[in-house]
Symmetry: C2
Subunit: 171 residues, 2 copies
Amino acid sequence: MAERWLSPRTAGNRAASGARRTTAARRSDHEPAGLGVLENHLGYFLRRAQIAVFQDFIRTLAEIDIGPAQYSVLTVIGSNRGPSQAEVADLLGIERARLVRMLDRLERRGLTIRQPSSTDRRSHALQLTPHGQKLFKRAKALAATHEARLIGRLGAAHHKLLLKALHDFEL
Amino acid sequence: MAERWLSPRTAGNRAASGARRTTAARRSDHEPAGLGVLENHLGYFLRRAQIAVFQDFIRTLAEIDIGPAQYSVLTVIGSNRGPSQAEVADLLGIERARLVRMLDRLERRGLTIRQPSSTDRRSHALQLTPHGQKLFKRAKALAATHEARLIGRLGAAHHKLLLKALHDFEL
DNA sequence: AGACAATAGATGTCGTCAACAACAATATAG
DNA sequence: CTATATTGTTGTTGACGACATCTATTGTCT
């Protein structure tokens, strides 16, 4: 079951939309509600950073209706020659059953196809369609815009530091 | 709609369980499947780090069946005097409707209660029950174990650096 | 060569998530 | 006093995450 720290949402939060102060904001007139020990948990801040970044990504790619998960799958398919579903699922760390359903939706949108493997009749060689390639090209450009915005906000050095620190992250 | 980068899972991955190499592993004998441009996306690595940390948290607190979301809610309720649902939802950045259902489940477990507010008949003052306080105490101890393990893995300096970098994260 | 094990992909199912909508009761603003 | 906003709740939807089970096919072992 997916679990997550709950954390303050970013763009689109109710507090941002309402003109009046929220109850929480009013409360801080006397005794601000606090996060307690959550302040010391890396997981909590990882989650909220992830939410913030994902929301910016989703907003940025909204015009082509591609979310982070779809982008990951398109990227792996587009970067490898006819990978199998097992390979894609393994690489991205998702259940094969889940990938089946994602591919179903991508196929319905005409973005990817399942080609019979020439060497293993159980397998498919996944490919982007011409339409999928075109859309993926646009997705990459938009994703680059999103990442540039992150870099702008964090600073190039900070962004690089985070990328490196998280890249080597292992438990 | 919840979105996420897909990324390699950590503990419990199929590759870890099977004795034989996976298709992806075999493939690397000739042409390793790659992540493509995902390698350069902060969001991708944020997601996989978050997944790794959450899974360790969930394993660590499995004995008391408390996930990150429940822990967050219990922490805010336990750290504030009779907060309202609106306050808790605002602070944690979740929809009020969602908190209602979470509180329903926590109440069913006998961990929290909704006291009528003395000042606002629309509101509840949320509280941990004695059982909830006891369980929350145990949860804090287990969460500290989880965090200590993170610190052990990352190194205290690295952990602190990440915590600070993510703490100030804003989009 | 044949039996058995493993793999690839698919479908079913369940509880929960995330989000949106709509509503009633109550508080606040004017 | 009336209009607007807030609090909490219920309903609903598509997707997620996970597990189970199945068929077709390939690989391994004897």
